[in-house]
Amino acid sequence: MTTEQLFQKRMKHSWRQAIHILVSISRGSGFPILIGMIVIFFYMGYQQFLTWYPADFPLALMLAIVYAPIITFTNIRTWLQKADLIFLLPLEHRMQSYFKQSLIYTGSVDLIRMLFLFSVAYPVFRLHMGSSLDYLLTLCWMIALQIMNLLLKWNVLRSKQLFTPFQQKLWDLLRVFIIFFALYTFLQHYWSGALISIIIMLVLLFQSQRNASRIYPWEKMIQIESNTRVRFLNWVNWFVDLPFHAERTIYARKWLMWIIQKTERHQDAFLYLYTRSFIRDRDLFPMYLRINFFFACLIIFIPSVFFQFFAIALSMILEAIQLLDIANPNRYPIWISLYPQQNTLQWSRLIRNLLFVQMFFLSFVAYFSNIPLLSICTLLLIGGISIVLYVYLYLPFKFKKANPTLLG
């Protein structure tokens, strides 16, 4: 088997697995309903935005802000595994075509993603920024930026120079900024600015190519691949219970833990554990903030009481699905079932509190964007009852059914 064939085999196997998981998600976890709700919500909100859109709205700036991170984000898929350090390392001299395939695959996926996401901008582009030809030219410009971005990322990955995590973040930010500048200047027809940005990209590309090592960064690539897999499995975990424990990425979040330590009363072991799980998990806490921030912005910008109500409900559903992961017994080692103190559904207290905080926060935002007080009170009442039913009826039933020995 050649290394290209090995890549193809791994890629196909991974897709088959992913499709299998996605099919099982779509069969019975509320996922299709959720997607349907998001699509309908987005469609209606977008229509409202197009009608509301004022003439002096900085559309080019908004498009650059939205699409620069999309162009910059790329996840080089290699499907390398730990065992490759033993079995493929001796073949390093023949791995060039493997990694070439990996870059072609990654570039294609990035391209498809961008084509899809940029097609969303077509109506607004066509109405307010120019012709279909302008749209196509912008698309070509974005594709060029995306290809250069991918090559730049690949070269930096292979760099002889070691980067600290902070330097790595700075470098990523720099790429986002250059691409933002390139896109903004192109959309505004500031040709000199666009030319300068593309020259900067080419110089960086050339420099990084010269600085790239001939030896592949195996361990780094294996780690990236493992992180991708964990992210996917964690996401899947929101909808279906995985029978195995996926390795997680943990962040210390010292500043937040300092606040928690100052405020918590150390009485319950399980609440102690669940709070830390929530705060330190790579996704749970940032996602909580993102959902709150995103829906608060929506509520401010969408001038319709109905949509504001709908946005709050949708945000609560999304957060509730996400927080399920805290209560999932598969997440923790056997210790939780050996402690003398019974796990009297302490996770429900944490989930309940987080959902209530979210509901009050978004209702507060809605109140200040002109929802009548009576409607807010109704919303709080319905939301409160839904949270209590979800936390005290649905969740205990769901997890007791999944693992009767692990919950009190």
Partner: protein, 241 residues
């Protein structure tokens, strides 16, 4: 006393892994659980911990089964697993704090015991670190620290020495003896037979899920009619028959 009475059990009702096991662990003694891979040692331990339910037979701690008094049963038993199992999101110190909370250890007692144990196992500098950055031996030390922190009445230990450095092995053996003197009943599963012979008071030799021989070394030698052979030789005789 930990009493295991005619316990048969396994992962499925149709396929028992352990058969009619009967033994006890009294206070202030170390009982060695010995057997080949797949002999049923871990399954026995899982039954004692209540992670598996016996098909038939009973397991009692000081007269109560897990179902009769869950809280008391769990508070009386500490466990060191063979493979370190830790919370990725907690630091070493937080593991200790969590254990103290779960076993309701008063703060002052906790601080004193925790600091002594960290000192003994040379883990002070790592107490604010996350375990996924540790070596396997250091991860195993978390399990040991948490188990000894509790100072439970009974302790179940599954292969505790894998990956440990010589100083840590020495420290754990020393602690086991100290705890035994304080009255702890210890069930120790190990493959290091020379160490078992030196530190255990009694032995259970398990083969294919059944107790083949049990008792002190002298009892076992008598049963084999070989008065002067070592535990290792006794073991080979049992499993090779």
């Amino acid at each position: 006393m930990l009493q295991v009475e005619k316990v048969t059990g396994g992962y499925s009702l149709s396929h028992a892994v352990i058969h009619q096991l009967t033994f006890s662990v009294t206070n202030a003694e170390i009982v060695g659980l010995i057997g080949l891979n797949g002999a049923g040692k871990s399954t026995t331990i899982k039954h004692i911990l209540g992670l598996m339910s016996p098909h038939t037979g009973t397991i009692k701690l000081d007269g109560n089964s897990l179902k009769e008094d869950t809280k008391s049963y769990r508070s009386k038993i500490a466990y060191i697993p063979e493979v370190p199992q830790f919370y990725e999101e907690l630091t070493l110190w937080e593991h200790l704090e969590l254990t103290a909370l779960a076993y309701q250890i008063p703060t002052e007692t906790f601080l004193s015991r925790a600091n002594d144990l960290l000192e003994l196992f040379r883990m002070q500098r790592a107490k604010k670190w996350f375990p996924n950055t540790f070596s396997k031996g250091m991860q195993q030390k978390i399990m040991i620290l948490c188990a000894f922190l509790v100072e439970a009445k009974y302790m179940v230990i599954d292969e505790p020495f894998v990956g440990l450095d010589p100083l840590a092995i020495q420290a754990i053996l020393q602690l086991l003896l100290e705890m035994k003197q304080k009255g702890m009943g210890i069930l120790l599963s190990t493959h290091i037979l020379s160490m078992a012979e030196k530190y255990c008071d009694r032995f259970l030799i398990l083969d294919q899920g059944r107790i083949k021989l049990a008792g002190t070394l002298q009892d076992i030698q008598l049963q084999l009619n070989q008065p002067s052979i070592s535990l290792e030789e006794c073991f080979y005789k049992v499993v090779n028959d």
